[in-house]
């Protein structure tokens, strides 16, 4: 018997700072709720035994209640509940706020696999490598239906919802190999949309990334897409530009043409690529065509990385040789630029190779 149960885990491994917080609250809840369960069970058993019917002529008193006692057990639980609520809310809030030094990794869920993109442009499927003791911020998107990124050893999960970005962060504390599950039902192979999270030493993590041989950082790849989709036809710094320049835009406030101010965060940038007419910046015409169907979630993550890396003066100048993007109004060329005049418009700062 012992041999069988020796390998049966009864409690999940703890591999993140969150895991310790969640477990502490869980133990507290088990103690309080377990205590209540034992109390109720003991009273039921005790009364059932003590006041069992001894004969048909048993006499029973007419006790119809006791207001003081009833108010007591109406109000008293509330105090316990406040502790449970505050404690739980504290952990939840701390998990939603990533620390500033967190390393960002992008995660894309699709039926039925997980894809990962590192800032250096390295890509992986199924297995996520993260360095130990480093806060990791995940930005997650779905290409089809709702998935859920769940790592039991980190005690954390988040639904990955199509049409938006969601975020989660954790700090792994223990080197090891842990389950990654999709825990939101997503169709036939939902139970096989699984993977592993490998928490490794920093050096091993660097070696891992070196072995992935990226063809340029995410921002580099985004720059190539920026040119391929001809974004610079309109988003240029020229005087006749048809669209706002994107330099220094990311995470700053922009004013829309309905007067509202929004933060140009990942979600806003993503929406502006896929659904550009929704939130047009003040002073510009809603002329941008949608890139839905042309840019997939991976492309958008690259474009976002590029836009975020864009510093003043780095916008590539317009490329007159190719046609403007689909459906875009034609902008008559004012001056010819000789092909040879063009400087490399963007010098990536990353160390991972040049475009």
């Amino acid at each position: 018997m012992n041999a069988i149960f020796a390998d049966v885990p009864l409690f999940p491994e703890r591999a993140s700072t969150t895991a310790y917080q969640v477990d502490a609250l869980f133990f507290f809840l088990c103690a309080v709720c377990g205590g209540m369960a034992v109390l109720v069970a003991a009273l039921l058993l005790y009364f059932s035994f003590k006041y069992r019917r001894r004969g048909e002529d048993d006499r029973t008193p007419r006790i119809t209640g006791n207001h003081r006692l009833e108010w007591f057990w109406t109000i008293a639980p509330l105090f316990v509940f406040v502790v449970m609520f505050v404690w739980g809310a504290k952990i939840y809030t701390s998990v939603s706020e990533p620390p500033p030094d967190a390393m960002e990794i992008f995660v894309i869920g699709k039926q039925w696999m997980w894809k990962f993109q590192y800032p250096g442009g390295e890509r992986a499927i199924e297995n996520l490598y993260v360095p130990v003791d480093q806060p990791i911020k995940l930005t997650l998107a779905s290409e089809d239906v709702i998935h859920d990124f769940f790592v039991p050893a980190f005690r954390t999960k988040i639904d990955v919802i199509p049409g938006r970005y969601v975020q989660i962060w954790f700090r792994p504390t223990k080197v090891g190999e842990y389950h990654l599950f999709c825990s939101q039902y997503c169709g036939t192979n939902h139970s096989q949309m699984i993977g592993k999270v490998f928490v490794v030493e920093r050096d091993d993590f660097r070696k891992y990334l070196d072995g992935r041989k990226a063809t340029g950082s995410l921002a580099d790849q985004g720059w190539q897409l920026f040119l391929k989709f001809q974004c610079n036809t309109c988003h240029s710094s020229n005087a006749e530009a048809r669209a706002p320049v994107l330099e220094g835009l990311a995470n700053n406030m922009v004013t829309l043409n309905n007067g509202k101010k929004v933060r140009a965060d990942d979600g806003y940038l993503r929406e502006s690529i896929l659904n550009p007419e929704e939130k047009v910046v003040q002073g510009w015409q809603p002329i941008m065509p949608t890139y839905k169907g042309q840019a997939n979630e991976e492309d958008i993550i690259k474009l976002l990385a590029y836009i975020k890396s864009l510093k003043p003066g780095q916008t590539p100048s317009r490329n007159e040789n190719s046609s403007p993007p689909l459906d875009a109004p034609r902008v008559p060329p004012k001056e010819k630029i000789e092909p040879g005049d063009r400087k490399p418009p963007y010098q990536p700062e990353g160390q991972n190779g040049k475009p």
Binding site: F5, V8, P9, L10, P12, V22, F26, L29, C33, A37, V40, A41, L44, F47, S48, Y51, R53, R54, E56, R59, T60, R62, I63, T64, G65, N66, E70, W73, T74, L78, F81, V82, M84, F85, G88, A89, K90, Y92, T93, V95, V145, I146, D148, F150, K157, D159, I161, P162, G163, H179, F181, C182, S183, Q184, Y185, G187, T188, H190, S191, Q192
Partner: protein
Amino acid sequence: MSDAIVRGFVPQAKARPPRTPETHYLNVEYGVKSWLLTTDHKRIAILYLIAVTALFLLGGAAATMIRLNLMTPRGELLPADTYNKLFSAHGIIMVWFFLVPVVPTVLGNFILPMMVGARDLAFPKLNLISWYIFTIGGIITLWAILAGGVDTGWTFYTPFSTKAARTNVIPTIIGIFISGFSSILTGLNFIATLHRMRAPGMTWTRMPLFLWSSYATSVILLLATPVLAMALILVGVERAWGIGIFDPDLGGDPILFQHLFWFYSHPVVYVMVLPAMGIVSEIITCFSRKPIFGYIFVAWASVGIAVLGFLVWAHHMFVAGQSVYSAQVFSALSYLVAVPSAIKVFNWTATLYKGSISFETPMLFALGFIALFTMGGLTGLMLAALGVDMHVHDTYFIIAHFHFIMVGGTVMAYMAGLHYWWPKMTGRMYSDFLSKLSALIIFVGFILTFLPQFVLGYLGMPRRYHVYPPEFQILNVMSSAGASILAVGYLLPLIYLIWSLFAGKAAGPNPWGATGLEWQTPSPPPPHNFDETPVVTSGPYEYATEEITDVH
């Protein structure tokens, strides 16, 4: 002591064996037509009993297949698609075609008019129509499930259900949509009956607690069901015509569906649990021969649950990317809704104090209800804590929690009520030994099935998994073994209850010595319930034999 006023329960004379009356609702007419066109609430209750029992067996068969498949980590028994269709069928049938209707339509239909001292419900024809609507909805859904199936789970989450699922989504939701009208009509009928048909002297505070909880249930059915109907229609519209409502590719919002769905589906948990609580209040008082401890608190707790139950829906969405503030508000409200349930548990327990407790079958089930419901409620407190929900959401912890509420709670109480009122419904007693045995088997089987699932859930096994990592196998095998015991426990009553119809002893009007109006008429009752309109002169649970000034 000895010269205290003796009131309330007086033991029945043992000398005369009870007899079945010559004419009663079962033998007043014969033939299929007399049943299918009946407007007698008691016959309609029997029609419902047959329908929901058949559906319970189907839902149970699906559960059996699920548990068999999960015996091995690779899920060799069933292909993934079949497995997904089976858990969807299990959820859809059990929630909409068993748990929601079972207590109101079977026990409520039979007992509620008699409890208020009425000849029938306020709208007898509407009552029959609602059975037909329920049956038509059920048949359509069953057809959709059997002819190809549906693999969205009972939750129909978008955009999976609107664009990715390749199964019979639309026929299934049409079936559920139709059966929703039956819920609404039943709720309407109960509310009208409770307002208009109470016997002379039965004031609101003299109503048995089952009526309070039925009233609260009816209000929820009336207010929440239309929201579900709307949400399902929108799923159908998007799926059929590609009109963007939930699918972000069409400009919709998938989370909107979850809000609409849970705005119905959380209150509907209380539709399942409130009538169950009403049953338990009737049985605990009867078998401990005591008035309920704190009638007003227990009655208003039902109302409190019905109201607060509408304000907690988004606790099903704590990990669905909602804002931190919204999560905090819904977490706090979820704790609030636990208070009335806690009141009820404490008051039932206090009712036992100084009682004369006998352990007939209904009482065993009712005590089982209190134990299991308490565990379900307490694990609910864990889930309401945001930090813990983040880990156990969508795992087997949730599965175990809501089965404690719905099976350990509602089904236990339904079994309690069925055994309590069976002599009234049929005029016959069932086997004492077998029924007590089945109560025991169900309790033990239930614990064995669902306790390991709490451990599995905290370990991180997600729900709706056809295959799973091998280290979870032993706990899954334990759960499946428990399920096989549970299955025996549920099949046993089917045998001895049917047997009792032919060979059971005559029950007599009041075999338990209970005080409700339904026990003042013969068993089975005459077609119009009462020969004379009863007059109510006291509260519902005058069991006590001693006059004691209360310990207020």
